[in-house]
Assembly symmetry: C2
Homo-oligomer: 437 residues x 2
Amino acid sequence: MSKISQESLKAFGGEAVKAVILAAGLGKRMGYKPKGLIKIAGREILYRTMKNLTELGISEFAVITNARYREEYEGFIRKYGFNAELIINRHPEKGNGYTLYLAKSHVGGKFILLMSDHIYGKDFLKRAVKGEGLVVDETPEYTDLDEATKVKIKDNRVEDIGKHLKDFDAIDTGFFVLTSEIFGIADEILSEKGKAELSEIVKRAKLKVTPINGFLWMDIDTPEDIKKARMLMVRTSIKGAGDGFISRHLNRKISTRISTLLVDHVTPNQMTVVTFLFGILSALMNFVSIPLAGILYQISSIFDGVDGEIARASMKTSRFGGYIDSILDRYVDAAFLLILAYVTIKEPLWWAIAVTAIFGSAMVSYSTERYKAAYREDIYRDIPAIRCLIGKRDERIFLTMLFCLIGQTKALFALLAVLTNLRIAATVWLVWRNKRN
Amino acid sequence: MSKISQESLKAFGGEAVKAVILAAGLGKRMGYKPKGLIKIAGREILYRTMKNLTELGISEFAVITNARYREEYEGFIRKYGFNAELIINRHPEKGNGYTLYLAKSHVGGKFILLMSDHIYGKDFLKRAVKGEGLVVDETPEYTDLDEATKVKIKDNRVEDIGKHLKDFDAIDTGFFVLTSEIFGIADEILSEKGKAELSEIVKRAKLKVTPINGFLWMDIDTPEDIKKARMLMVRTSIKGAGDGFISRHLNRKISTRISTLLVDHVTPNQMTVVTFLFGILSALMNFVSIPLAGILYQISSIFDGVDGEIARASMKTSRFGGYIDSILDRYVDAAFLLILAYVTIKEPLWWAIAVTAIFGSAMVSYSTERYKAAYREDIYRDIPAIRCLIGKRDERIFLTMLFCLIGQTKALFALLAVLTNLRIAATVWLVWRNKRN
């Protein structure tokens, strides 16, 4: 048994649950690539799993790969500074049961076992780490049934398991919570046959099953799977709580498609800058054509979702990103309405109304962000009723476009002046009612 | 020995350090009142001490008073839900050494001893709880030397102690960190003389001294002391980090005087409403007289400090108070500049500049509050350089008054438009440089 100690390797704790990651496959269908290191939406499959597990308190890993991919996995572990030990399987032909067996001297007591080529969503992992035995999915939503490993269950234990089972109850998620007892059974099979598949071990062990149904997990076998996973990563990266009606029913439908296309090519910060410049361009367009400006403004509102989606999908969110994005959005809104007012308004009274609309637009965001500064929590999570108030940015921009198209900009300013400031009053009232102290 | 158990009393932990509070004095010079319960700036002396100690991790108390004030102290403990046991001293004539002795069966190992009629600032307490023996002050700033108990120190221990010492090194702060050994010495003196003063015990024990110099603490003996302490509570309640030049050198000097006058009569929220209405009044005054409006606006800026000062001085700060105050300030600023623009500006170009000034004014606050929402810390604490940027509210208002007095409102809008937005750009740049990730 070969073992490679990483410089960053810490002494094993007695209590800590370790995760063993099987990554000894050759990735034939992917054109001989280490599947765990394939980037999906800007991040390696394994980065996602290991990062999410770390956040769930599981921060020690043993990654078992083959001699061919040793350097790649070493580089990966070093790059991100994971607390992971690399184990080399020099006999991949002995099956993935043998690969698991190599972890024997690296874990003690309870440990987690998972596949390097599976994408697991954080909500899935949150539940799975508390499971026992084999985690199965009775209603898999994202997995191709033809390719999946099926499980027949009896008395909450595995009765049969295999790709070609006709009669089955659930699908194998490739995620296990095991104890070192499993190595005894692996040993047994290995001495009988000189090789062992994980599914044989699982069947002979009559492992307990833990059903976790309908959450995001996916086996990545083919280039088509990568495409599908990329799309899923983007779709599930929508923040949501602060989204208004237009965002939910129009903008997000388009922005997630754009994000899926861009996520592997553009950084969130690049997208923030592009969106800002496009927003300012839409504002300047008011000097040329107000209807066109309105349309560009609405397009910029769709783009506005992309930087956040890319950042979350590629696990590259940053506080500075959120900070700067939020300030630039205010400037785009102010610039658009200011130039629109400049080209359409002469009377001081209407200017005063336009000022009230511009100020109110900035204050809508101020009233929610200031809440987070005071209460250290998201206002939409703390006080869900605030989600129902209209006047969010996506809604204001859509209204602005409509009024620009019909050329009623004074009515727009009057409407925005009332809408935004009423919304702020309602926000303050709801905060007062819910969180007075 | 009498003992009254509070319903809220928890079992004593083995490790927790308890605070014993001597409150058996009759408060003769105060007209026979329980001195610990005298309100200074809206809060009982003992509330301040116990609340601050609780925040420093010392949350179990034994309060020793006399039979006469038993009900008052019971009510006080119940009102605030302190984890405090009340002990009655039925023989006050035996001296405050005897009062301390009554705590014998209520503490184990290390404990804190302090006087109910002393005000201790939080910065003092933070250091004092880590002290050993008698905490003394070699350079007392707030205490009347005539009335103070002096301490002669030798080899870091008390050599002599008394009110009338001619030769002394430091002043007794009435704050001790003791161990139960002290009760042996108290016992000794009590059996010899039938009574005991704390100072005798301290002297005979040759207590170690811990010097903590120049922080806020005060012995409250006379009505004059109350006045002085009230003023100190207000003065030391200035938040400070976000104060601009005008605030530091003008507004705070006046607002703290107003706060000292009002702190016992007005709640922070009442003051927030009054300040808001006064600010709106100053804005409306632009319809009548611009110079007068400018002066009222500057006065409202002085008032603006009062609600926060009262809230902090009386330990009545609330998150909602901070939230609503911050939103109302934005509305006052927008209202003032909007009405000022309305009565002085006709040309769209100047309106556009006014809009930039009004929007920029709101965004100055947005850029700092949004930082707190993102980074969960005060921007002035995280990035001290931001304190040096000009364009804070107090400075903008003072500038506004000056330009209103000389009648140059267009120049004002141009200046504010540039000043505020440059400040925001500088803020974003500093955040980027310091906290990019």
